[in-house]
């Protein structure tokens, strides 16, 4: 069995690393939070000093970090993964970051004869715990085949999307659609509420037709119930839309609705909703909330 290094033991990385331990992989782990590291060490992992150290001990290095700058620092920075990783090793970044950064890291690691994959996930904390994440993968096919048993431990819906960056592009498409659909549902339900129409009946009627979506179903219900416990935090979705807009800028693809949703999320952040579920974008116009 490949020896695995795991960097980033947060709300997602923690349970993912534990699932790898459970199926028998030996793990070397690292996180800036010592408590997160302790927990994994108790579960059977070995702790390391820095990313370079993790890489030295591992055949496969996995990262699960908040954003592009974090991944860049961990891989390409001082005492970074790239300093310690062995020729022939495999690097898998499962964070949600900009496709351009995935490509940059891929190229840097290619120079060291290290294969790399971008493999962002969706399915949240529950999916990470239960090993049922959806994983969207970009990179060389041979690297994908090699990583497949690891992915099978972490997720269920595992899709090879294409070349380097394709996983991140797919993830950003996902976040665009979820974000704009959420805003669509929010606009519709706010309009219905202001018109004093029964929101449950509107949701039910719309679910039976072309307006049907998982977002109308789940997030629509949250809006009606006023349940804004995360779920998926507003600040994280805002970060993900930033990746979408950055990619749009780079590729010169105008994303007018995505841009407006990002702006409305900024308003939500300003009002202190960053830690709430992303459905709180429905609350940023207080005067329209006539509950």
């Amino acid at each position: 069995m490949d020896r695995i290094g795991f960097i980033g033991l947060g709300i997602m990385g923690g349970p993912m690393a534990k699932n790898l331990l459970k199926v028998g992989y030996s793990l070397t782990v690292l996180d800036i939070n010592p408590q997160s590291v302790d927990e994994l060490v108790k579960a059977g992992a070995t702790s390391a000093e820095d990313p370079c150290d993790v890489a030295r001990e591992s055949d496969i290095v996995i990262t699960m970090l908040p954003d592009s700058p974090d991944v860049e620092k961990v891989v390409l920075g001082e005492e970074g993964v790239i300093q310690g990783i062995k020729e022939g090793a495999l690097f898998i970044d499962m964070s949600t970051i900009a496709p351009a950064m995935s490509i940059k890291i891929y190229e840097a690691l290619q120079d060291k004869n290290v294969q790399s994959l971008d493999a962002p996930v969706s399915g949240g904390y529950m999916g990470a715990e239960n090993g049922t994440l959806s994983i969207m993968i970009g990179g060389d096919r041979t690297a994908f085949d090699r990583a497949f048993p690891v992915f099978q431990t972490l997720g269920k819906n595992i899709v090879y999307m294409g070349e380097t960056g394709a996983g991140q592009v797919t993830k950003t498409c996902n976040q665009i659609i979820v974000g704009v659909t959420l805003q669509a549902v929010s606009e519709a339900l706010t309009l219905a509420k202001a018109a004093e129409v029964d929101l449950n009946k509107v949701r039910q009627a719309l679910l039976g037709g072309f307006a049907q979506s998982k977002v109308l179903d789940h997030q629509g219900e949250r809006i009606i119930e006023g349940n804004f416990e995360p779920g998926f935090k507003l600040k994280l979705h805002r970060k993900d839309l930033n990746i979408s807009l950055e990619t749009g800028k780079e590729q010169q693809v105008p994303l007018p609705c995505t841009a407006i949703v990002a702006q409305l999320m900024d308003a939500g952040m300003a009002q202190g909703f960053g830690e709430s579920d992303h459905t709180t974008i429905t609350k940023i116009f207080k005067s329209t909330d006539r509950a």
């Binding site: 950003t172 669509a184 202001a194 018109a195 009627a205 979506s213 693809v253």
Partner: protein
């Protein structure tokens, strides 16, 4: 069986009225287009010369016309429905119009002792022909119960939402969600395409998660197949977005995304693409992004 009057025999009204005739109702009909009238008369209806005459000959009057001004014209105009109605009648407007107009018509008819329902539909021409329309109804309980056997001839998913105007509000909500979801899918798939990622694979991967929607499924497939035959025309969806935005203005509800989608639709109309399916929102984005057609 109640005697029905049917005003507006277009692409939707024509098959709807024929379904009523087939179910055994006697129909008095009116349309400004004489050919439409003679087609339905051949199927067994009686033609009237004015909307007033339709009302005089009927116990239940149904209207299926393009927009709010047409409904106003039919009801309030010279020789309009209002001149011909009697107390105890039922008026059902199945057009998609502004909730405010529905409420105005409701009030005017109430004063004449006439019950009114707003009952806009979704499901398109196919649903109208098959009698499988979704019908969203606003108005009183009693009026809804009275109308139900008639509505059941034309539709399948029939929901009484609430008071007068509630059906139109629900329809406007539907068009907001559909319009913005199409735009969401268009933005995502255009970004994927220009990034060189296989759009078909993206659609499939996303259908498995939280991004799932009927629009991603069906309109996403249209985008991949380059099939922009209507379906539901851009120009009609634009009209419906106008109702949503007008209602937002009436009620002071900001609708940022809807406003952008309406503007994108205006751009399509400006370049003569109003007759295409509303999934053509992606065509505009591809042009804007200068994405080479593969």
């Amino acid at each position: 069986m109640e005697k029905i009057g049917f005003i507006g025999l277009g692409i939707m009204g024509n098959p709807m009225s024929k379904n009523l005739i087939n179910a055994g109702y006697s129909l008095t009909v009116y349309d400004i287009n004489k050919e439409s009238v003679s087609d339905v008369v051949k199927a067994g209806a009686t033609a009237a010369k004015t909307c007033k005459e339709v009302a005089e000959q009927s116990e239940v009057v149904i209207t299926m016309v393009p927009d709010s001004p047409e409904v106003e014209e039919v009801v309030y105009g010279e020789q309009g429905v209002l001149e011909g109605v009697k107390s105890g009648m039922l008026f059902i407007d199945m057009s998609t119009i502004a909730p405010a107009t529905s409420q105005k018509v409701y009030q005017s008819l109430q004063e004449k002792g006439v019950e009114a329902l707003d009952a806009p539909v979704s499901g398109g021409q196919v649903g109208a022909e098959a009698g499988t329309l979704s019908i969203m109804v606003g108005g009183s309980d009693a009026a809804f119960k009275r109308a139900l056997p008639i509505l059941e001839v034309m539709g399948k998913n029939i929901v009484h939402i609430g008071d007068a105007g509630a059906g139109q509000v629900t329809k406007a909500c539907n068009q907001v969600v559909v319009g913005m979801t199409i735009q969401a899918v268009a933005e995502a798939l255009t970004l994927a395409k220009k990034s060189g990622v296989n759009v078909e694979k993206v659609r499939e991967a996303l259908l498995g998660g939280f991004a799932q929607s009927r629009i991603l499924d069906l309109h996403g497939q249209r985008v991949i197949d380059r099939n922009f035959e209507p379906g539901f025309k851009v120009k009609l969806h634009r009209k419906d977005m106008n109702i949503a935005l007008q209602t937002g203005r009436d009620l002071s509800v900001p609708l940022h995304g809807s406003a952008i989608v309406a503007a994108q639709m205006d751009a399509l109309l400006a370049q003569g693409d109003g007759e295409l399916d509303h999934s053509a929102l992606v065509l505009l984005l591809e042009q804007m992004a200068n994405v080479a057609e593969k």
